[in-house]
């Protein structure tokens, strides 16, 4: 117990790798064993995270459970891990969604071992970003997460569909989507890597707490330029890398493709966790390292956020593909995260900023729950009907009452219905941003209005209306959601309701971290 307590972050971070290796040695012809093993093993990081949550002291300043091992002595880079209230929330989200997504993947029957192996590696990649307190380690994990996801989309993505690039050139949709995802993120990271190198060379360390202190205090000239200019360039390098990941308008077009083509569980993790990496980058790196620049360019960030909110909602409303509709909803919802961050950056230290930031972090968690749930529900119906076209459904509610009920519940969470989780965070963001970025907040309301429009459109086309007889009889008869699938949804729905009714338990942790950080 003593050992676990002292090394808990390392254990959480690397246990999935161990699990992945174990999965690799399982017999190939018994997929069910592989599935259950992977799922059972993924519960251990979750259990450890819950333990971490319980042991965590929200009121204590700085990072907790810190661990530090030399990693690359020549560069003075070390495996420095630690959590505060913000990263803790994200760790909990990741370790929760991974078992849920693995359970959701039981219907995958193609190369199960490789699939589970990659999925578990993916978990480590994501956790590493949230836990890292060393810039180089941060970057390593940032890139590590890309590889498994690339293969998940590329190999297990939807087989149908083509995308015309330009006249006469067509590619398979999942190839297109996975490549776009990979190259876009990597292209964004180039500037980040350069900026990180700049900091590393400058201060001979990559340790984040040290860097933050020294870098923000730096004045004078650098590389023959005023420090302010260098900082501005480096700021935008960071911002672009994270903005692509969030994704912020206009860097968002990889998202609908990747989410739509990815396998169900892949979409769940993509929307649930991977997008949060970008937002987390803003919180952990951009705001602490560039407080002055963040405040100066907060208006620009808010503008992009509002564009994402408004046009994300519009684009979602304009879809005929159910999964793409849900995919675009992420652009809309993550826009609120960035709006909160922008507001907090502009008026750092005020009560309004704290409220906005609380809202942004909580929105990250909430969106993780509802988006994962929505993607899963789209997957459930896709597996049965092999279509995502909204016009092919219609009036399915009497055939699948339980599924319908769950879909409406989750949709309402996504819509931001008061009493469920999404409302709390969106309200906090709106409340916090209003006095700081009044006009942008007001314009964002158009997006909020159309959130309702696209959610109701989805329900209307799938569940309501005259029954499409095609699904009512014979071999096409639509079957009800099964027990395993309900178990996948149960924890998500429970958390959605609990946070909606009594958010204090999680918001208190976030609030204290935000207060200490900014």
């Amino acid at each position: 117990m003593e050992f676990i307590h002292a090394h808990i972050l390392t254990l959480i971070l690397f246990f999935p790798v161990l699990a992945a290796v174990i999965v690799l040695f399982l017999p190939k012809d018994k997929p069910q064993v592989t599935r259950w093993t992977a799922f059972a093993l993924s519960l251990i990081p979750l259990a450890l995270s819950i333990y971490l949550w319980v042991q965590f002291e929200p009121g204590k300043p700085g990072f907790q459970f810190e661990e530090k091992y030399v990693w690359y002595a020549a560069l003075n880079s070390s495996l420095h891990l630690g959590v505060d209230g913000i990263s803790l929330t994200m760790v909990l989200l990741t370790t929760l969604l991974t078992p849920v997504a693995l359970l959701a993947s039981f219907s995958v029957s193609d190369r199960v071992k490789a699939y589970m192996f990659l999925f578990l590696l993916l978990e480590t990649g994501m956790l590493g970003v949230f836990l890292a307190l060393d810039l180089l380690i941060f970057f390593v994990f940032w890139e590590v997460g890309l590889v498994p996801m690339y293969f998940l989309i590329n190999q297990w993505g939807s087989e149908k569909g083509e995308r015309e690039l330009w006249k006469g050139v067509k590619v398979q949709a999942r190839n297109y989507a996975s490549l776009k995802f990979m190259i876009y993120t990597m292209a964004g990271s180039l500037g980040l890597l350069l900026a990180i190198q700049l900091l590393g060379v400058l201060f001979q360390t990559y340790d984040l707490p040290v860097l933050t202190e020294k870098w923000t205090a730096l004045e004078g000239t650098l590389l023959g330029l005023p420090v302010a200019t260098v900082k501005t360039v480096a700021f935008w390098a960071f911002v672009v890398a994270f903005a692509i990941k969030v994704p912020v308008w206009p860097f968002h077009t990889w998202l609908p493709d990747a989410h739509t083509e990815a396998p169900t569980a892949g979409s769940m993790i993509l929307a649930g966790v991977l997008l949060k990496l970008g937002a987390y980058g803003f919180l952990r790196l951009v705001l602490p390292l560039y407080p002055a620049e963040s405040a100066r360019y907060a208006g620009a960030l808010a503008f992009l956020a509002v564009m994402a909110i408004v046009f994300g909602a519009f684009a979602s409303y304009g879809q005929k593909d159910f999964k793409r509709l849900v995919a675009y909803s992420s652009v809309n919802h993550m826009g609120f995260v960035l709006l909160g961050i922008a507001a907090a950056a502009k008026a750092s230290g005020t009560l309004d900023a704290t409220i906005a930031m609380n809202g942004a972090v909580l929105q990250m968690f909430n969106h993780g729950l509802s988006a994962a749930g929505m993607f899963f529900l789209v997957g459930v119906i896709y597996e049965r009907t092999h279509t995502r076209n909204l016009d092919d459904f219609g009036g399915l509610f009497p055939l699948v009452p339980v599924y319908g009920g769950i879909l409406i519940f989750t949709s309402m969470a996504s819509l931001g219905l008061p009493g469920l989780n999404g409302f709390v965070s969106e309200f906090l963001v709106v409340r916090g941003s209003w006095p700081i970025l009044t006009v942008y907040t007001a314009i964002a309301m158009i997006g909020l209005l159309f959130t309702g429009a696209y959610i109701l459109k989805g329900i209307k086309q799938v569940l309501h209306g005259p029954l499409n007889e095609h699904w009512a009889h014979g071999e096409h008869k639509l079957t009800e959601i099964n027990t395993r699938e309900i178990v996948v949804m149960a924890p998500l729905m429970a958390l959605i309701l609990v946070i909606g009714l009594y958010p204090a338990w999680i918001l208190d942790v976030i609030n204290k971290a935000v207060m200490m950080l900014f």
Binding site: L165, K180, A315, S316, G318, F397, V424, L448, K460, L467
Partner: protein, 712 residues
């Protein structure tokens, strides 16, 4: 139990009923409605208890029941939520508890509990009737039970939870929570028969139209919270806080902070209470089953909108500009909706427009500062309009009996021109409907509607709001007129169709609520008789004014009595009723109805205009502009150009540098050179020792000669 504890628990039984039914008992109809009605009964009991206790408190306005808990951490402090019942809250709680309870009971009969399952009934569509064979071997068609009976009660439960939450809230945020949960329920209930495309579309229309108001309201809440640091009513309505709000200046319309916040919150009400220009959803909401209409239109949702404005009155009344807007919207809506109601033939739609009109009355009353009168009319209206909606449901139910009897399903059981003479077939429904109708028309002295409406007119008159006074008087005339038209067409004269001839009175579960509500539709007016009213004034104290008025920090003065508004309200009520009867007593078909003017029949073409101006453009922006043009064509287009350029660069490097220079010139070139030189020098590698000997000797001689001559 402490009263505050009871108040905390008031909303919970219906919520619990919702979860129990959804998760466990949905297969069992009797158990489901038992749980739901039991829960409504429990909340009703608690409400009555709270109400009675509230009556017993001295100076209740200053010593309201209130209790709070910490809910959201915000920086160093907490955002608190809590419950509060003050005089206004208690009065509202009273009617909410009664109407909700009655509607629950009524739903049992309305959804044909105890009847057999339908022959071809399908979930998501209204029941079509079942065939039964009696002891003599005759086949009859009888009403069939609703296929989603349990689900209906679950939704009702959630709806009741929303309303109770809203009423007991001590702050705007939980009020908004209840408000939105009701919005969801109205969506679910209007779309209850979701298999009908009309119901599905009506549900979405209701949700989206009210959401327009809601997002403004959310901004109002955010503004108020930022400006004051609290959303709790009792903390906002303090003198210094209100003064602070009034002193903020905003760039919009020259309004003060208080005025802008008030306006934003009021827009929420415009959506929720279906005021012009966001009124369009409410008539379509008639697609829902009738108890839903009553729930939405009387007991809960639309009243909630007015309640919110009454609640925020101390804030809204700070800015005269906002008050003028409120008064204008209210008065305009009151008249505008009444003109449409005159030309509708669907029994429920007449009532729907009537509701919009009456809500406009209340809003107008608030706009001119008649706080108590607005609250009074809110409550009397809730009783008689719930009565009318349930009565119309009873009529429709009776007519459906007739339709099942004749088997002619082309007869619309909701069209008043298919009715006539129902007073004999459905006496209880008739008498209660008559009471409700007369209350709505403001029939003098006996009905509650008279007292509340008269008080609004008197207030407008006393404070010189002439435009409002005249508009409301005309609206009141039209109200009496269309109400009498409705009663005449439905109940009086002779049956105009075979179906009406075979209509039947409905079971006790439906008529009992009618009787109870009829009781309040008459008596509730007597608690608010003005003190100086001729003959009756002062016989009973004007309890309502004293009680509800004490909610405000400064007790509002009752309007001085004047004979003119009284005469006006007598004239318009009696005149409207008389003309309504006179014109329609002999009308047989819509063709004979002179008031079927297209512009009124088509509701001033608002639906068409909105569709053209907002709905279609929105979809165009979404699909064509945002998705296909901006994302697909422009942004992805740029990415693809970058990709294509990279490909081009790659090709260029490969074809013009890698291949010719690196591969061919340097790579192949070096190879070729080596190869060529090898080939060229091959002749010296013959393998013959003698040959090598000769070569080395020759070379040795050459080197020796060179050495000798060059170096030495």
């Amino acid at each position: 139990m402490a009263t505050e504890t009871i108040i905390w628990f008031l909303p919970l039984p219906p919520l619990l009923a919702f979860f129990l039914i959804v998760l466990f008992t949905n297969k069992n109809k009797a158990l489901s409605h038992g749980i739901a009605v039991g829960a409504a009964g429990l909340s009703w009991l608690g409400s009555m208890l709270v109400f009675v206790r509230a009556l017993g408190v001295e100076e209740f306005g200053k010593h309201a029941f209130e209790s709070v808990i910490n809910w959201l951490p915000t920086g160093e402090t907490w955002f608190q939520i809590g419950v509060r019942i003050d005089p206004l809250g208690a009065a509202v709680l009273f009617f909410v508890a009664w109407t909700i309870f009655m509607i629950f009971i009524y739903s049992i009969g309305y959804h044909n509990f105890g009847q057999p399952e339908g022959d071809h009934d399908r979930k998501g569509l209204p029941p079509h009737g079942a065939t039964v064979t009696d002891a003599h071997g005759h086949k009859h068609t009888v009403p069939s039970v609703e296929p989603m009976y349990s689900r209906f009660f679950a939704f009702l439960g959630l709806f009741a939870f929303g309303m109770y939450t809203l009423v007991v809230s001590n702050n705007l945020l939980t009020l908004f929570v209840g408000w939105e949960i009701m919005g969801l329920c109205s969506y679910l209930l209007i779309g209850f028969w979701y298999g009908k495309p009309s119901a599905r579309n009506a549900a979405i229309k209701a949700f989206m139209t009210t959401r327009i108001g809601d997002v403004f309201m959310l901004l109002g809440i955010a503004f108020l919270y930022s400006a004051t640091g609290t959303l709790t009513f009792s903390e906002i309505f303090t003198e210094e806080m209100l003064h602070h709000l009034a002193s903020i200046s905003t760039p919009i319309l020259g309004l003060s902070g208080a005025g802008l916040i008030g306006l934003l919150l009021f827009i929420g009400t415009v959506g929720k209470s279906a005021q012009w220009p966001l009124h369009v959803w409410l008539p379509d909401a008639m697609e829902g089953p009738t108890p839903v209409s009553a729930m939405i239109h009387a007991a809960t949702m639309v009243s909630a909108g007015v309640y919110a404005v009454i609640r925020m009155f101390p804030l809204i009344s700070l800015d005269p500009a906002t008050m003028s807007i409120v008064a204008f919207i209210g008065a305009f809506t009151a008249l505008f909706a009444a003109t449409i109601a005159v030309a509708q033939n669907d029994i429920k739609r007449v009532l729907a427009y009537s509701t919009i009109s009456q809500l406009g009355y209340m809003i107008a009353a608030l706009g001119i500062g008649a706080y108590v009168a607005a609250a009074f009319h809110l409550i009397t209206h809730a009783f008689f309009k719930a009565l009318l909606f349930l009565g119309s449901g009873s009529v429709i139910h009776g007519m459906e009996h007739g339709v099942l009897h004749t088997g002619n399903h082309h007869v619309d059981p909701q069209d008043m021109f298919n009715m006539g003479g129902l007073r004999k077939k459905m006496p209880i429904t008739f008498w209660t409907f008559l009471i409700g109708g007369f209350a709505l028309s403001g029939f003098p002295v006996i009905t509650a509607g008279f007292w509340s409406k008269d008080e609004i007119l008197a207030d407008a008159f006393a404070h010189g709001h002439w435009a409002v006074f005249i508009t409301l008087a005309v609206a009141a005339f039209l109200t009496a007129f269309y109400t009498m038209r409705q009663i005449t067409l439905t109940f009086l004269g002779e049956p105009r169709t075979e179906e009406a001839r075979h209509a039947q009175e409905t079971p006790w579960t439906m008529t009992l609520p009618l009787v109870v509500l009829a009781f309040f539709a008459v008596t509730y007016g007597w608690v608010g008789i003005p003190e100086h009213f001729p003959l009756l004034g002062g016989l009973v104290p004007n309890w309502f004014h004293e009680f509800v008025g004490s909610t405000l920090a400064e007790h509002p003065e009752a309007a001085p009595f004047s004979i003119w508004p009284l005469l006006t309200s007598l004239a318009v009520a009696l005149g409207g009723l008389f003309f309504g009867w006179l014109v329609y007593r002999n009308v047989k078909s819509p063709a004979e109805d002179k008031l079927q003017i297209p512009v009124l029949k088509n509701k001033w073409y608002f639906d068409e205009a909105y569709d053209f101006l907002f709905v279609k453009p929105a979809y165009w922006i979404a699909e064509k502009f945002t998705y296909l043009f901006m994302d697909r064509a422009v942004i992805d287009g740029i990415l693809h150009v970058v990709a294509r350029f990279s490909l081009f660069l790659g090709h260029a490097f490969r074809n013009y540098f890698d291949k010719p220079v690196v591969n061919e010139l340097i790579g192949d070139g070096t190879g070729n050179l080596v190869k060529a030189s090898g080939r060229g020098l091959r002749f010296i590698q013959t393998g013959r020792v003698q040959y090598y000997m000769v070569v080395s000797m020759v070379l040795l001689v050459i080197f020796a000669v060179l050495y000798y001559f060059l170096i030495v």
